[in-house]
């Protein structure tokens, strides 16, 4: 096993761990946002448009952490500066 193989193996394992662990927090946060929005919609159906707008915006903001993890994982896999495959 030469250095390049070790780097590739570690990068793949790191990308998997990044994505898997990074998705946990975003998933929990999004589920809580969804539950809270359902609750608010059931209590105040008149405010549906405002609640939906805030819901989507907060979903996107929470989801962006998972997207950052995805970008880091893709950098590890396809644009890793140590494997010589930089530039994707």
């Amino acid at each position: 096993m030469n250095d390049q193989t070790i780097i590739a193996v570690v990068a793949m394992a790191g990308a998997g761990l990044t994505m898997g662990l990074g998705a946990i927090g975003a998933a929990i946060g999004e589920s809580r946002i969804g539950a809270a929005a359902m609750d608010a919609l059931a209590r105040q159906p008149d405010e549906a448009s405002s609640i939906t707008r805030t819901l989507f915006v907060s979903l996107a903001m929470v989801e962006s952490t998972a997207i950052f993890c995805l970008v880091v994982a893709l950098i590890l896999l396809f644009a890793n500066p140590f494997t010589g495959a930089a530039g994707g």
Binding site: R53, F56, V57, M61, S64, I67, F68, I75, F78, G88
Partner: protein, 223 residues
């Protein structure tokens, strides 16, 4: 199989300036949008009863209402900016569904440019409505010690705007490409439908967030 994530193939050169695929795509989208806007404006002044002019009025009115709900009063400049951002990003995302076209927003350069536009509009809007001193003062509230945190939050939210849009669009495109390579024809269709939804949603979120940031700068001196 060729995966393209961060690269951007150079199509041709004008003099010494390389012209990449993203530049061509975004220019074509911009020209189409401008042509549609000019046509609709022409139609709206000449024949206001035509259904296309009604559609144009509805689009403008919906952006105005959105900005009014967020900022608290009508603000034509901000709604123009938010509407332009939404229409450009949404058109780029939808253009990515055409065969052979890479979405322009799937390149980090485009999304960074859009985020920098929002980053620069925030102090301009704040200074226009509060004056230079009134705007700078809000950095030192509630405590001058928090000034670095204000600066860091402005920088990091700009980065988040750029990377969020880029990551969503690029990953959606990548998943479709992977599915086409692995499974073939018609299998990625549901994912492409999801991509349409995500593209419109991300454009909406970009417009809303930039309106929220600018609205916060406009009302910075009012507490």
């Amino acid at each position: 199989m060729h995966l393209r994530i961060f690269g951007d193939p150079v199509l041709f050169h004008i003099g010494t300036v390389p012209v990449t695929e993203t530049m061509v795509t975004s220019t074509v989208v911009t020209l189409l949008l401008i042509a549609t806007a000019v046509l609709l404006a022409y139609l709206a002044t000449l024949r206001p009863q035509h259904w296309l002019s009604l559609v144009a009025f509805m689009i403008v009115e919906s952006f105005d209402n959105l900005v009014t709900e967020i900022i608290g009063r009508r603000h034509t400049i901000v709604s123009t900016l938010a509407g332009s951002l939404f229409l450009f990003i949404a058109s780029c995302n939808i253009a990515g569904q055409l065969p052979g076209v890479h979405p322009a927003t799937g390149s980090l350069a485009t999304t960074s440019a859009l985020a920098v536009v929002v980053f620069l509009s925030v102090p301009i809007a704040g200074i226009r409505s509060n004056g230079v001193w009134g705007y700078i003062k809000h950095y030192f509230r509630p405590n001058p010690l928090l000034m670095p945190l204000h600066v860091i939050s402005e920088l990091s939210r700009t980065l988040a705007l750029a990377v969020r849009l880029f990551g969503n669009i690029m990953s959606g495109h990548l998943v479709v490409g992977l599915l086409v390579a692995l499974a073939g024809f018609l299998v990625p269709t549901p994912i492409m439908a999801l991509d349409l939804l995500i593209g419109l949603l991300q454009a909406y979120i970009f417009a809303i967030l930039s309106t929220v940031y600018i609205g916060a700068a406009i009302s910075a001196g009012e507490e």
